[in-house]
């Protein structure tokens, strides 16, 4: 009798352990309904690794920018500098003429951006809401103008600007923005186009019956409903204008003709020469000699404003693409 009982209890144990094993297996490998732990682990490890690789240049930049010359040469110091050395930043800022350049770059990026938003919303509304002859050709041209590299129209445009005496002034950015040809304007027009298409036509017709004109219905109904698109376009436009160094250097700060305006990124481009000049002018020993720490500090300084903006307004940046409906509803 006792033997039988023992046998039975053993069997029960076996079954229990089988159930347990199954449970563990399910937990690790996952079932149809739920992902297993192993899969989750792999996903997290992959994400963290890739995230680190993404941040690597930034971390490198930050760590190098706080090193003094001794730390740089010391092979035992890899990541964490021995002392918190800020002089790099001060010297870099001095040679870039930081405050003045900073305000100038805000103007250089901000003014065309505002115009870009206004004009692109206008044009996008025109394309989305109205039917007129030649619309399809125009849309084709719009996409074509985006695909075409800007280098090909650069020479004649430069000639045009220099004939109009616009090179070196802010007008070289404002004029194309006014005519819907600003930086990456085709993308913005398409974003507005997508957005205004989603505004129900009935609303606008109702406004018309109540006596609103075309422009009034645009301003009072379409624009307020397009605020997410406006935020998106504004943010991207300002970031892209801020980071644009090629055209800024050519048209605004001038390669051939020196203009009055410059931006941080353009200053960064010619950093070495500027820095050496500034170091030569200043009294001996007051500035650090040009090394990679200073260069990294300058890079940090020139991207700091946009970085700050990104961390404050990150929600708008990250959700922007969802909201604009590029991917189609």
């Amino acid at each position: 009798m006792e033997q039988k009982l023992q046998k039975l209890s053993k069997k029960l144990k076996n079954i229990k352990s089988d159930v347990n094993k199954d449970k563990i297996r399910k937990l690790l490998m996952g079932s149809r309904e739920k992902d297993g732990l192993i899969k989750l682990l792999v996903v997290y490890v992959l994400l963290i690794c890739i995230g680190f690789v993404y941040l690597y240049p930034l971390l490198y930049m930050i760590s190098k920018s706080f090193m003094n010359l001794d730390d740089l040469l010391d092979t035992s110091i890899n990541w964490i500098p021995s002392s918190f050395y800020i002089k790099n930043y001060f010297d870099a800022a001095k040679s870039m003429n930081y405050l003045k350049t900073f305000f100038q770059s805000i103007v250089v990026a901000g003014v065309p951006t505002v115009i870009n938003v206004i004009i692109c919303s206008f044009v996008g509304y025109g394309f989305a809401r109205f039917n007129f002859p030649g619309k399809k050709i125009m849309m084709g041209l719009l996409i074509f103008s985006y695909i075409l590299p800007s280098t090909i129209t650069m020479m004649p445009t430069y000639v045009l600007y220099s004939d109009m005496k616009l090179v070196g002034t802010l007008w070289a950015f404002i004029l194309p923005a006014l005519l819907g040809q600003g930086l990456n304007a085709p993308i913005f027009i398409l974003i507005f186009y997508q957005f205004f298409k989603q505004v129900p036509k009935v609303l606008i017709e109702a406004a018309h019956i109540d006596g609103a004109g075309f422009f009034k219905s645009f301003l009072r109904i379409s624009i307020p409903s397009a605020i997410p698109a406006i935020i998106t376009v504004f943010l991207f436009s300002i970031v892209w204008y801020w980071n644009e160094s090629y055209l800024t250097q050519l048209y605004i700060s001038g390669v051939f003709v020196k203009g009055d305006w410059t931006s941080l990124i353009v200053q960064l481009k010619g950093f070495d020469a500027n820095y050496n000049k500034a170091a030569a002018v200043s009294t001996v020993g007051s500035m650090v000699s040009n090394n990679e720490s200073v260069r990294m500090a300058a890079t940090m300084l020139s991207i700091a404003p946009v970085l700050l903006m990104y961390f404050i307004l990150q929600r708008y940046f990250v959700e922007s693409i969802d909201r604009t409906g590029i991917t189609g509803e």
């Binding site: 996903v43 993404y54 240049p57 039917n131 590299p149 645009f218 693409i321 969802d322 991917t327």
Partner: protein, 337 residues
């Protein structure tokens, strides 16, 4: 004889015409802009490329030079042709890498994951700070490579196997791995929002039918986001081509102001560059557009057949009518006689 009642021609309604006019007014700034900054410069640039332009104190002197600019670039310029070929290979190779990588990350982020917002924040960060000078400085400092990745072995193996331009392109790809990854911020977000819009009932149905996750990916996810793949690929090409990290556009700019080269020479270069870029876009579009769904194909075939039958029926009917008319005519004739 009574006059026929006048049939009014169908005209566009007054309201519609007014709407079209207003629409044109809305688009007008852009139309002017296109002429001023796209069409006219395009023709001018074509003209410049075939000319010799000299800057004199009295203004520009344009002399027609035929295709000498082009021949000069290909026969005498030491840099440009090599760089153009390298650009071609590099772009063609890095576009798939970027797109596939973006897709993988988007798939990883698409599941139920904690700190999703944080990861999105990291992956989108490069879009904000990426710009020519920053990239150049970072690459110059060696911050663009993953230090743990030793690539010299791969490099030598590649160089012995492949033609030079291609080998150097691939090894460049490896040595600038982080930069390549950095370029995929926008693409990740586009893929992510496309993935989130796929109807989840599709997956449920597939699971009930016994489809594995692997099959679901190939049969549901990929076909649904195919348009986004094309969009992302084209975006990547354009981004890579207009990025200042790209050496060619810097050469074009510096040659524009070089004394012995000038606008004409630089225009010719820009044209060649544009053609190379369009070629890449064309290749990608061709690869991604031609393969249609089997289902689509079948639908098309059936539709065609239905159309054919309808046409045949119509013809038969018309013939029948005509024949009928003929018969009645002959009958009438016979009656008259």
């Amino acid at each position: 004889m009574s006059k026929k009642p006048k049939v009014k021609k169908v005209k566009i309604g007054k309201l519609e015409r007014r709407e079209a006019l207003v629409g044109l007014i809305f688009v007008l700034p852009w139309i002017i802009g296109v002429f001023m900054f796209l069409i006219i410069p395009l023709f001018q640039s074509f003209q410049f490329a075939l000319a010799n332009i000299k800057m004199t104190p009295r203004g520009r002197v344009i002399t027609f030079a035929g295709i000498t600019n082009y021949t000069q670039i290909w026969l005498e310029d030491a840099q440009f042709p090599v760089m153009l070929i390298k650009y071609f290979w590099e772009t063609l190779l890095s576009v798939p890498v970027i797109v596939v990588f973006a897709l993988i990350i988007a798939m990883l982020l698409n599941g139920k994951i904690k700190f999703k917002g944080f990861f999105r924040l990291i992956f989108f960060l490069p879009v904000i700070i990426v710009s020519g000078p920053v990239m150049n400085l970072l690459t110059a400092q060696g911050a663009a490579t993953i230090p743990a990745m030793n690539i010299t072995g791969i490099q030598t193996a590649l160089e012995s196997l492949l033609p030079n331009a291609m080998a150097s392109a691939i090894s460049d790809l490896f040595s600038n791995m982080i930069m390549i990854l950095w370029y995929s911020g926008v693409q990740i977000l586009i893929f992510l929002s496309a993935l989130q819009k796929i109807d989840s009932s599709l997956y449920e149905a597939a699971k009930i039918d016994g489809g594995s996750a692997w099959e679901c990916f190939w049969k549901i996810t990929l076909p649904t986001i195919k348009p986004m793949i094309l969009l992302n690929a084209v975006y990547t090409v354009i981004f890579l081509s207009n990025n200042e990290h790209n050496a060619i556009i810097n050469i074009i700019q510096s040659d524009m102001f070089a004394g012995n080269k000038g606008y004409g020479y630089a225009s010719a270069m820009a044209w060649m560059y544009a053609i190379a870029e369009t070629l890449i876009v064309g290749i990608i579009a061709l690869l991604l557009l031609t393969r249609k769904d089997a289902y689509d194909k079948q639908v098309k075939r059936v539709k065609k057949e239905i159309k054919k039958q309808a046409r045949a029926l119509k013809i038969a009917r018309r013939r029948g009518k005509r024949n009928g008319a003929k018969i009645t005519k002959t009958i009438k004739k016979a009656e008259k006689h």
